[in-house]
């Protein structure tokens, strides 16, 4: 399942500006949204817990990017080769081996993990899975979305650069689903009220 990856999403070619809107890694249509004025949300301070501390031990000059954008590089290049790629701007190609859509079931900040129910996107007949992930694998931009019921995509695949080098990656990206509006909340409350009055439970 090869996908073209826009150059700005290649970790090596461009660092994500902080506070910029976060785009999904794969070309996919965004769900339709009504015009929304996104309220300013104070981003919670990200705790650099034990799980994160372990990750900074990885010998990687761009370790902040690797950890902060939700992508974990599992097969690293030698530093010299990495430096050459860093200057390169040709798009890389992403081959997805497996992808899941996940829903967060529980968050354990003390242990630095979250548990999720996973639905296989590459095989819709597959059984449902459950997994426990490191919170440190969640992009800094997505941490505010890490809540019970939060929805994300988890992709395992190979990214092939134009020189032919291939790296195996795991990427977790939370879905920025349309936010609930005040009208949604009011409509739900009104409907709840109507149902409670209409349905008689003897």
């Amino acid at each position: 399942m090869p996908l073209d990856m826009p150059s700005q999403m290649t970790s090596w070619s461009q660092r994500q500006p902080s506070g910029s809107p976060h785009t999904t890694s794969w070309s996919e249509p965004q769900p339709p949204t009504s015009p929304l004025v996104m309220p300013k949300v104070n981003k919670p301070e990200v705790r650099r817990d034990a799980a994160y501390a372990l990750r900074t031990d990885i010998d990687n000059p761009n370790k902040d990017i690797d950890i902060s954008d939700g992508i974990r590089i599992l097969e690293d290049f030698a530093p010299l080769e990495r430096a050459r790629l860093y200057q390169h701007t040709q798009p890389s190609r992403l081959e997805v081996l497996n992808a899941w859509e996940g829903a967060v079931m529980a968050v354990n900040r003390k242990a630095g993990t979250f548990t999720a129910r996973l639905y296989d996107l590459t095989d819709t007949k597959a059984d449902i899975s459950e997994a426990e992930f490191e919170i440190g694998d969640v992009s800094l931009n997505d941490v505010e979305l890490l809540k019970v019921g939060g929805v994300f995509r988890w992709m395992i695949g190979y990214r092939t650069h134009s020189f032919g080098q291939r790296e195996r990656i795991s990427a977790i990206k939370f879905r920025r689903l349309p936010a609930w509006t005040a009208e949604d909340i009011q409509a739900a409350a009104a409907e709840g009220d109507r149902i409670a009055r209409k349905i008689r439970v003897r």
Binding site: P31, M38, P39, V41, R72, L74, L97, N98, E101, G102, A103, V104, M105, T113, T115, R117, Y119, D120, L121, T124, A126, D127, I128, S129, E130, A131, E132, F133, E134, L145, V148, G149, G150, V151, I156, R168, S170, R175, R176, L177, P178, A179, W180, T181, A182, D184, I185, A187, A188, A189, E191, G192, D193, I195, A196, K198, I199, R200, V201, R202
Partner: protein, 378 residues
């Protein structure tokens, strides 16, 4: 007591009009209990999906034994989330004569608002978590069904409501949820309500099933107790403590007991075997397995068998093969996750039948991966 692994012919044989039957199917995503009280009349507790098709397991079973879903007179609903009651909406829609028995908390305005706000998460494969309860509520909203509230010590159906040709009076009681559990549930639902500006989420059930409905059934002198998911916290106002302390509950002791909460110790109360069960009862467990978590444990099995030597399980907990994936995917899963498991629904079925009016014992049949509880790990 004769036990057998039944052939297809035996499986498809429906109960006689003067025969009572209890069938427990699970585990799937959820579990289900069907009971035949005589005269082709059935009631169902909860739902799960059949493995062989996408239909609710209770409907599949009724179809297999050529029983008419129109003869289901009641459906008990004690779960609302999609992961625990797959097929419930479909079941309720098909059983056109069934009264819906559920806690009033399901129709509370705060919970209904919670349902609506989570109804359209716009996800591709992840279920909203509220699809089944939403479908059920729609049926009630459209006036297609009527609902009976389940609460402690309520006689839902009495002998005057269910006139049987076999002459044995039939009674159906709910023994839970307690007022405290009702309030706990609504407090939780209110705390989970979305807020303006918040990114949509899907609904996720909380671990404890506050609205578990314990059902007590008597058919003549035969008494059965279906423990649902009721857990014990050691508090007087909730769980089995609340049932044991309550006045006004029926006092006859049950000979058949559906063990609560997958046989785990959280569903156990030391006084239940002595206060609610007859000597040497038949116990049935629908187990649970998710990765490293398996219920019941060996300790649980030993505890259950101590008061119910004749105990059965709807499925074994023997290891199951994981699906095959690309080696690179398997390697990555091991590197990235602390724990990864695949939830493979593998329901089996335990069926009990008894002829009324004769000094007969219950006949136990096992289908699929069902077996005796002492061999649950084999």
């Amino acid at each position: 007591m004769p036990e057998k692994s039944a052939s297809d012919e035996l499986y498809e044989t429906p109960p006689k009009k003067d025969e009572i039957e209890v069938t427990i199917i699970g585990p799937g995503f959820g579990e289900t209990v069907l009971m035949h009280i005589g005269d082709d009349k059935w009631f169902v507790i909860d739902s799960c999906k059949a493995i062989s098709s996408d239909r609710p397991a209770p409907l599949e079973y009724l179809n297999d034994i050529k029983a008419d879903p129109a003869n289901v007179f009641a459906i008990v609903v004690s779960h609302w989330d999609d992961d625990h009651c797959r097929g419930m909406a479909d079941l309720a829609a098909t059983c056109t004569n069934a009264e819906i028995i559920l806690s009033k908390a399901f129709i509370d305005k705060d919970f209904q608002a919670y349902i609506r706000i989570h109804d359209t998460p716009l996800t591709r494969t992840v279920r909203s978590g509220v699809k089944e309860i939403r479908g059920l509520t729609s049926l009630l909203d459209e006036g297609e069904r009527s609902a009976l509230g389940a609460f402690p010590n309520r006689r839902l159906f009495g002998a005057d409501d269910l006139k049987m040709s076999h002459g044995c009076p039939v009674e159906l009681w709910s023994l839970s949820p307690s007022d405290a559990e009702y309030q706990n549930f609504l407090s939780w639902a209110a705390s989970q309500m979305g807020s303006s500006g918040e990114t949509r989420r899907v609904a996720v059930n909380r671990d404890r099933n506050d609205l578990s409905v314990v059902i007590y059934v008597s058919v003549g002198d035969d008494v059965l107790l279906f423990g649902g998911d009721l857990e014990e916290e050691g508090k007087q106002a909730t769980g089995w403590s609340a049932i044991l302390a309550s006045k006004g509950r029926p006092k006859a002791k049950a000979r058949v007991f559906k063990i609560p909460h997958h046989g785990s110790k959280t569903g156990h109360h030391d006084d239940v075997p002595t206060e609610l069960l007859a000597i040497d009862p038949i116990a049935i467990v629908a187990p649970f397995k998710n990765g490293n978590v398996s219920l019941p444990t060996q300790v649980d099995v030993d505890r259950i068998r101590a008061f119910a030597p004749k105990s059965f399980t709807t499925a074994t907990l023997a290891g199951r093969a994981n699906p095959k994936r690309d080696p690179a995917v398997e390697k990555t899963i091991r590197e990235v996750t602390r724990r990864f498991s695949t939830l493979k629904a593998q329901p089996g079925m335990v069926r009990l039948r008894k002829q009324l009016g004769l000094p007969a014992e219950w006949r136990v049949e096992r289908f699929g991966s069902a077996g005796t509880l002492d061999r649950i790990f084999s």
